[in-house]
């Protein structure tokens, strides 16, 4: 039904355009003197006027047509105007006569009009513009200007103004209906992907049960077959996840929860997850880089980007190959971190390089070549990187290998403070710090386990904080004594205490956290202002430095004091 509506609108548009063309042809025929009669429709049916004087049909036509018509002098003064044009501007015809036509145009169109008249004296011109209406509103019109000869005073301009508001409305509706359709498509996509996951989870679960021998011993053949089923189910799940992710990105539903990410940790985690795949193919997977580098990004997204790029590199590198992930400050761009994933695989030819980030693009339809995936991964990466204000690109030499690179903004306390400090250009009443000091329980000896716990804690803090008001700060480690996590919140003492209470409650509820760590949550005001101030950019920067200093002191002191 929606597309029917679109079709109707399009047909309407085409009809209007055809009618315009016919009117133009009529006007031209009249100018050339090829017409000497007019059929004028009226309440009693058509009447025919045959005319000897060539000006007569012009006048009748001009008065009857639904377009606005005016005769202008070469200087642009209105010498004649029909009822319709007067109506379009909301003025009586007599107030139009003698006025410069340019004064009937809206402000933005005025400067261009004299040039249009000059052009029209050479050849017919057409342009879009806006007529001023009585009530300050504007009417979109198409202006057609043609040169005519005026009997007494030489050259003049015949101007035809066609009301485009219908067309503009139709185009707007067409656009809206297209958007509605897109949204429906995305919703369907997201729904279908969800539905597909449920039976797939079932397949996965029962296959593992069989494979584990829980329901009886298996022969080697049977295990082999089940392994294949499991592998295919996993592939299918990755594809569905990609579809789901694309649908979310399309719908603008991807929320980036930024916090401070230790780049090395993210890379290490990604590599750990893919080590099995690399070992299976006999590919050397390594990393190298700046261990302290912090980026301001969504940790889950960073991992997703890395998994995608490294996974791709593994996919397109033959056995015995080499994949290396490097990370450091971007050369020439100190505010950004650069991550590169380098392989010595088959490489990508230049025309393909330009397209790899497109959705559903795969080189030579590589589904046939046995590579799994839908061709959505790199498109998703691109969306994710740009939603972090970073860049992503590829360099490659066919046969020698490819290097995918992306940048992410480096984390700095000052950089992220402005939403906390100000609201709609005024300073917030107060800025507070909520500190969570967490110490691993003796049973949580393994570093592995602690890293899971701290990620959990970070997630919890992200969940509790408001994106436009609070920021989750990078934790300060004081191993083995523990680690200090913090939220900087644009709120006063009582607001901060409320937030602290919420965090306490949520931590108690989370089994993993209560099992693995002992935590103390406290709140304090870092900066209070009596009145709301209207600061300049420099003021905010100065305050940001001041607050950053106070915050790092508070965090270090707390963690150092124990």
């Amino acid at each position: 039904m929606k597309s029917q509506c679109g079709r109707n609108l399009r047909a309407e548009l085409e009809h209007t355009q055809a009618r315009l063309a016919e009117l133009e042809a009529t006007m031209n025929a009249i100018y050339r003197g090829e017409v000497d009669a007019l059929a004028v429709g009226g309440p009693q049916g058509s009447r025919i006027f045959t005319l000897q004087n060539p000006e007569e049909p012009y006048r009748i036509l001009a008065e009857r047509m639904s377009e606005g018509v005016a005769t202008l002098s070469a200087e642009g003064t209105i010498l004649f105007c029909n009822q319709r044009l007067a109506k379009m501007t909301g003025l009586p015809p007599e107030r139009m006569l003698g006025a410069p036509f340019v004064s009937k145009l809206c402000e933005e169109d005025r400067a261009g009009f004299p040039g249009l008249v000059q052009l029209a004296l050479q050849h017919n011109v057409r342009s879009e513009g806006h007529l001023l209406q009585e009530n300050e509103s504007v009417l979109p019109v198409q202006l057609s200007l043609s040169r005519i000869l005026l009997q007494e005073s030489g050259e003049g301009i015949c101007l035809v103004a066609t009301d485009l508001s219908e067309r503009v409305r139709a185009e707007e509706e067409l656009r809206l209906s297209r958007e509605r359709q897109l949204r429906l498509k995305d919703e369907l996509l997201s729904h279908v992907s969800h539905e597909l996951r449920t039976p797939l989870a079932c397949i996965h679960q029962f296959t593992t049960i069989l494979l584990d021998g829980i329901s009886g011993e298996l022969t080697a053949d049977q295990s082999g077959v089940l392994e294949i089923i499991l592998k295919s189910a996993n592939q299918l799940r990755t594809m569905i996840d990609d579809l789901l992710e694309t649908a979310r990105i399309e719908a603008g539903k991807v929320k980036v929860a930024r916090s401070c990410v230790v780049l090395q940790d993210a890379v290490r985690e990604a590599i750990q997850m893919l080590r099995g795949t690399a070992a299976e193919k006999g590919i050397d997977l390594e990393r190298e880089g700046h261990s302290e580098l912090l980026v301001y990004a969504d940790p889950r997204r960073v991992l997703q980007i890395l998994l995608n790029l490294i996974g791709n590199a593994l996919k397109f590198t033959p056995a015995g190959g080499h994949v290396e992930v490097k990370y450091g400050v971007a050369p020439g761009e100190p505010g950004y971190a650069l991550v590169t994933v380098e392989d010595d695989g088959c490489g990508i030819s230049e025309p393909v390089q330009a397209r790899v980030f497109e959705r559903l693009y795969q080189e030579g339809g590589s589904i046939d070549q046995g590579h799994e995936g839908l061709g959505l991964g790199l498109a998703i990466c691109k969306e994710l990187v740009s939603s972090h204000k970073g860049k992503i690109w590829v360099e490659s030499q066919p046969g020698k290998g490819s290097t995918f690179s992306f940048t992410l903004p480096v984390y700095s306390l000052e950089r992220i403070l402005s939403p906390v400090l100000t609201e709609n250009g005024t300073l917030r009443r107060a800025v507070s710090l909520i500190l969570v000091r967490a110490v691993p329980k003796p049973t949580t000896a393994a570093i592995e386990q602690w890293s899971r716990t701290r990620r959990k804690l970070n997630e919890l803090l992200c969940r509790c904080s408001l994106p436009d008001k609070d920021v989750v700060l990078p934790s300060v480690r004081a191993q083995p004594a523990g680690e200090t996590f913090a939220i900087l919140a644009g709120t006063d003492a009582s607001g901060a205490e409320l937030l602290a209470q919420r965090i306490r409650q949520q931590m108690k509820r989370c089994q993993e956290l209560s099992e693995n760590c002992v935590a103390q949550v406290s709140s304090q005001v870092v900066r209070a202002t009596q009145e709301l101030e209207t600061p300049t950019k420099e003021d905010v920067e100065a305050i940001a430095r001041e607050v950053a200093c106070a915050v790092s002191q508070a965090m270090n002191m707390r963690s150092g004091s124990r």
């Binding site: 016919e22 009529t26 031209n28 090829e34 017409v35 009669a37 049916g45 058509s46 025919i48 045959t50």
Partner: protein, 109 residues
Amino acid sequence: MNRKTAKQDGKKKGQKAAGEMWNLRLYIAGETARSIAALRNLQKICDEHLPGKYHTEVIDLLESPQLAAGDQILAVPTLVRMLPPPLKKIIGDLSNTERVLVGLDVVPR
């Protein structure tokens, strides 16, 4: 309806060479100078460019003005191409042969 049009369009291309019929309708207003000129020009153009494969119909709106509404005629003379579809109008006395041939799609644009 769309399908029908598309089909006929296809036919049109195929049949042009094979001698398709051109059905033309000329609207005039009695014996005004332009009406007479249009009649004469139409005759000449058809004989020269569509010999043996045209059919013309002349409607005098002075005699039957109610017919103007059907094809939405405003200026007279006007030539209407009834067949082959789509409907096309050429307004004026047909004195510029080239413009008429282009307008009727007898010669490509």
